[in-house]
């Protein structure tokens, strides 16, 4: 190859010689245990001499992030409907196709659906992924988690014996307002992050607050999208007053805190001038 070849070109050449290993499956590194080289890297800029030795590792079958998200989010959307409309196999034949006398149950269905439709729209039009793919076996694990929990919480919310929240309309209205604010916040952050890559690049940049007040959370937090997401699920828990929803919220919180801390420390490593006031996910605390 030419000395100014990119890793991307090398991957394509490798794929021609070995058609079963398409570029997304190839991990090319300088050292057998080293990090995978990025597509954009140029051979002569790497620490190699006149001849370079590259190592290949098969990452296994890959699936695109967009595809994964679409499958992950469409499941809960439709699974919830199975319970809301009380399909015969869910609550027994006597309750089939009946509807709940509580308005909050319909409200919960609207909110849940809105949340996943929003996620689907963001996946198609907003998100710009830094990695193209993930291993195929992840999709089984992820779908079991999202779809399973959606079924579990939908079961209780739409159950004929469902009990509405203890503080009635006050509790529900508060929850709805919190829900809408958090959804708007989450969307604003996704758009702001997407705008950082409007030029099509895949490199990381520090996100900053914009004119949109929802993005002002960037003053205090590295990953406000996760903050708002947890807020959405807390509001949904308050709205439905349902333990399974609360458990799902807790798990989401734990998972997103892990992701936020990762991202936060990556930012700190890469950028010397990273704002020092920022915490990973909760202002001043976590």
């Amino acid at each position: 190859v030419e000395s100014n070849a990119t890793i991307r070109e090398i991957r394509l050449m490798f794929h021609k010689s070995y058609p079963q290993w398409y570029p997304a499956r190839q991990s090319i590194r300088l050292d057998p245990k080293g990090k995978s080289l990025r597509d954009e890297e140029i051979l002569q800029h790497l620490p190699v001499g006149t001849t370079a030795t590259l190592y290949f590792k098969d990452l296994g079958p890959q699936i695109g992030w967009t595809t994964v998200f679409l499958i992950e989010y469409t499941g809960p959307l439709f699974i919830y409907f199975l319970f809301y409309f009380r399909m015969p196999f869910v609550y027994g034949l006597d309750e089939r196709f009946t509807s709940s006398p509580h308005p909050v149950v319909t409200l919960a269905c609207l909110c849940h659906s809105f949340h996943y439709i929003k996620r689907l729209i963001e996946t198609i039009f907003v998100h710009r992924f830094s990695h193209g793919t993930m291993p195929l076996r992840n999709i089984v694990k992820n779908c079991l988690y999202y779809w399973g929990f959606a079924a579990w919480l939908a079961y209780y919310i739409n159950h004929p014996l469902y009990t509405p929240p203890s503080y009635g309309k006050k509790q529900i209205n508060f929850a709805v307002i919190m829900f809408l604010l958090c959804e708007a916040g989450n969307f604003s952050i996704h758009v702001a992050l997407s705008d950082l890559r409007r030029d099509g690049s895949r490199t990381r940049k520090i996100p900053y607050p914009t004119k949109n007040p929802f993005t002002w959370l960037f003053f205090f937090v590295s990953c406000p999208n996760y903050t708002y997401e947890v807020g959405t699920w807390i509001s949904f828990t308050i709205m439905t007053q349902c333990v399974p929803v609360g458990l799902f919220t807790l798990l989401c919180f734990i998972q997103m805190t892990i992701w936020a801390k990762d991202k936060h420390y990556t930012y700190l490593r890469e950028f010397k001038d990273y704002p020092s006031l920022r915490m990973p996910i909760i202002p001043f605390l976590l």
Binding site: Y156, H159, L161, Y162, Q241, V243, P244
Partner: protein, 207 residues
């Protein structure tokens, strides 16, 4: 665990039958088995302090959790099964296993491990493991009708937290989970046995 073993033998000699042996070792059993939770922490620390015994955190956590579950959530909670023979079966299996296992770790740390202990640890499990598992499964099975009858640890709809839990079904699921899990642990130990005992043979031959 020696305390438990001695307790068992003494009670048997005193009463002549083995039906109510659970009561004589109930307290030490609860104490030492629950104390084994510390073991998970110790194994976890191995990744930071290599001097401590190497063992898989997941496997250790699994075993300790299942034992603590049997001790507290089944045998202690469902009084009617305490006189079952199956309880004796798993208590004896655990007792022998743990005495050997802790001796193994102690001698290893002292860098003076008698071959007999190593052999015992990696061979007796072949009988003790199925014995313990049978005792555990039979005990859970015996507890089922009493759980159903009393509604133990179960909560049903409607309630203001919109949650339900059926302990009876949960126990059945636990029993079913033994089917995929037990063979994996058993074959892991068999694999370890081949590795550890043949390694010693090579050492001996080269001497």
């Amino acid at each position: 665990w020696l305390v438990i073993a001695v307790g068992l033998v003494r009670a048997y000699l005193a009463k002549g039958s083995y039906h109510s042996l659970y009561y004589s070792i109930e307290k030490p059993l609860k104490f030492f088995q629950t104390g084994a939770l510390l073991e998970v922490g110790v194994v976890f620390l191995h990744s930071y302090f290599p001097g401590i015994v190497p063992s898989s955190v997941v496997l250790t956590a699994f075993q300790v959790m299942s034992r603590v579950f049997l001790t507290w959530a089944v045998t202690h909670s469902v009084k009617e099964v305490q006189t079952e023979d199956s309880v004796l079966l798993f208590v004896v299996a655990w007792t022998i296993t743990e005495i050997i296992r802790y001796s193994f770790y102690t001698f290893s740390l002292l860098n003076h491990l008698p071959y007999l202990i190593k052999w015992a640890r990696y061979t007796l499990f072949i009988v003790l493991y199925p014995m313990g598992v049978s005792g555990e499964l039979l005990t859970i099975y015996a507890a089922l009708p009493f759980v159903r009858q009393s509604g133990l640890y179960s909560i049903s709809l409607p309630n203001k937290y919109n949650f339900s839990f059926d302990y009876y079904t949960f126990l059945i699921l636990i029993m079913i989970s033994y089917i995929p899990i037990f063979p994996q642990l058993y074959f892991h130990m068999l694999h370890q046995r081949r590795k550890v005992l043949s390694h010693t043979e090579e050492h001996k031959k080269s001497e």
